[in-house]
């Protein structure tokens, strides 16, 4: 065996992706793994730059220029499909004009292994490629497990948040959600209408027909309120039979009056429940939050409460929009007790 053959054999083991080029740039010998990339097209005898497109350094087009680039990193790509990209390093060979180019997959190794059905036997035992593939797979498996956990936790978090802001019986927003919505409108400087709604005669339904009837009534009420308001409005159940509706960009008391009238009209119709009939109605007090005025939200809520009290005092089943005069007459009658106090008697 001559020196040349001994070198080729050694290179086949040490660098199975090498290629030996003659002075004209033709392939004299190709390593076994490299040849495996093109099992049906013998590389030996073809011009190296016809098999590979040299991507970088870009200026090189001739074999002389390529030989001059000995020792620098080459970026190459197979010219026919699959157009695998490889990295290369060229060194002068044993004889004048001969070059040895060693190639490696670099970043494209993951795709290459599956494209060409490579096994660990195709890589030198000292090559870290197999370790890298192992790391990629191990990392992907671990990341996938963590990604699934993330999605589960996110789902749970969304559900928990939803629950924390929802009244489970009616599906309406709860008091917390309402506070949140109000705070945002205040932040944005949105003018909004506020309706405080108390159900009339609801306690009687609960007492005479039982809680199941009461629950049915509350669900019906919730549906009516949602149907009679816009998507941008917020309907919240803030107490047993107490509701609040926030109407962003409400123009004035008249605009809300139409909505209030329809709600009272619909809630005053008897609600059938298991052969019985539940009769309720609603009292409404409304006020407007105007960011241009100096009034705080708490003051506006109190205004709406005073108006609600006037509706109740006026015989229930009616609505009142707040005007300052109400406060004086309300004081003469009895102070509003605040909404946490049971008003029905």
């Amino acid at each position: 065996m001559n020196d040349h053959e001994a070198l080729m054999q050694a290179l086949d083991v040490l660098c199975p992706m090498h290629v030996v080029l003659g002075p004209t740039g033709h392939v004299v010998h190709a390593g076994p793994t490299l040849q495996k990339l093109r099992p049906d097209a013998q590389m030996v005898g073809r011009r190296f730059l016809e098999i590979f497109d040299l991507k970088r350094p870009r200026a090189i087009t001739t074999m002389d220029a390529l030989r001059a680039a000995a020792g620098t990193k080459l970026h190459l790509q197979l010219r026919d499909a699959p157009k695998t990209e490889v990295k290369g390093l060229l060194v002068p060979g044993l004889t004048e004009g001969q070059s040895i180019v060693n190639l490696s997959f670099g970043i494209s190794v993951v795709d290459a292994v599956s494209d060409y059905a490579l096994t660990s036997g195709d890589f030198a035992a000292t090559d870290l490629t197999v370790e890298m593939l192992y790391l990629v797979e191990a990392k992907s498996a671990a990341m996938e497990a963590s990604r699934k956990l993330n999605l589960r936790l996110q789902g749970a978090m969304i559900a928990a948040e939803e629950q924390a802001f929802t009244d489970t019986l009616t599906g309406l927003k709860n008091r917390r959600a309402m506070d949140h919505v109000v705070a945002r409108h205040v932040d944005w400087g949105t003018r909004f209408g506020l309706m405080q709604i108390d159900l009339d005669w609801f306690k009687a339904v609960n007492d005479t027909l039982g809680h199941a009837a009461g629950d049915h009534v509350l669900q019906t009420v919730a549906r009516v309120m949602v149907e009679e308001t816009r998507d941008s409005d917020t309907v919240a159940r803030v107490g047993g039979d107490e509701f609040v509706i926030i109407l962003p960009h409400a123009k004035g008391g008249e605009a809300m009056e139409g909505i209030g009238r329809r709600i009272i009209e619909r809630l005053s119709r008897p609600i059938p429940f298991q052969g019985e009939v539940c009769k309720i109605s609603a009292s409404i007090g409304s006020a407007i939050y105007d960011p241009a005025s100096k009034q705080s939200v708490a003051e506006v809520m109190d205004d709406a409460d005073v108006a609600l009290y006037a509706s109740k005092h006026g015989g229930r089943g009616q609505q009142t929009h707040y005007v300052p005069a109400l406060r004086r007459s309300a004081e003469n009658l009895a102070p509003p007790k605040g909404r946490d106090v049971e008003r029905e008697s």
């Binding site: 970088r56 990193k73 970043i107 494209s108 993951v110 990604r147 993330n150 932040d187």
Partner: protein, 195 residues
């Protein structure tokens, strides 16, 4: 948009301008939350809205904000890992520029659902390059400007950069290399472990 990108924006604003500015920006952008999770995916329309809100809060043009973000990403001690990963791209600034072609693939190797915009480097001469950046989000080229400017310093190279405009989801940066060894640059040790 991937949580990593949104999270990077959050860290940039918080570390550079304080948590208050960040909270204000999330409110203007009409987000329901203030904290992005790095490993979750968010609606694509959130990110541009957020960037406009930040520009609004900081009272600076969006392109300036995005370039500062690029600088932040490769210079702030809190995100040192990113600078290190980029330095793996090459021993010299020119090699680093060439490695940007591989960046989206490398990123996907690490996080399979992270899709970074494609970048293509064209070399017109040994000292003059164009970086063609796919730009799904207007201003992405400015982020790259900030990154390149800072990485040039990092390598000790002196480079002139110019954002030469864009359109149709592509933005172009012209890079002129004045000197490759202008200054000492920052040290990079391949084997140093990120702490």
């Amino acid at each position: 948009m991937h949580g990593l990108i949104n999270r990077a924006i959050q860290c940039f604003v918080t570390d550079s301008y304080g948590a208050d500015k960040w909270v204000e920006a999330t409110r203007i952008a009409d987000l329901d939350f203030v904290e992005f999770e790095a490993m979750l995916t968010y609606d694509d329309d959130i990110t541009p809205r957020l960037l406009d809100a930040i520009s609004n809060v900081l009272n600076r043009p969006r392109s300036d904000v995005m370039e500062d973000m690029g600088t932040y990403l490769v210079s702030h001690p809190n995100v040192e890992a990113l600078r290190r990963l980029l330095r793996f791209g090459g021993v010299t600034f020119v090699e680093f520029l060439h490695s940007l072609d591989d960046l989206p693939d490398r990123a996907r190797l690490a996080v399979s659902d992270l899709n970074l915009p494609r970048i293509e480097l064209r070399d017109h001469s040994p000292t003059h390059f164009s970086l063609i950046c796919e730009s799904p989000m207007v201003g992405y080229g400015h982020v790259m400007m900030g990154i390149l400017r800072t990485m040039a310093d990092d390598y000790g190279a002196l480079a002139l950069l110019e954002h030469t405009g864009g359109g149709d989801g592509i933005e172009t940066i012209s890079v002129t290399l004045v000197e490759t060894e202008f200054a000492a640059g920052r040290a990079f040790d391949l084997g140093a472990r990120a702490s």
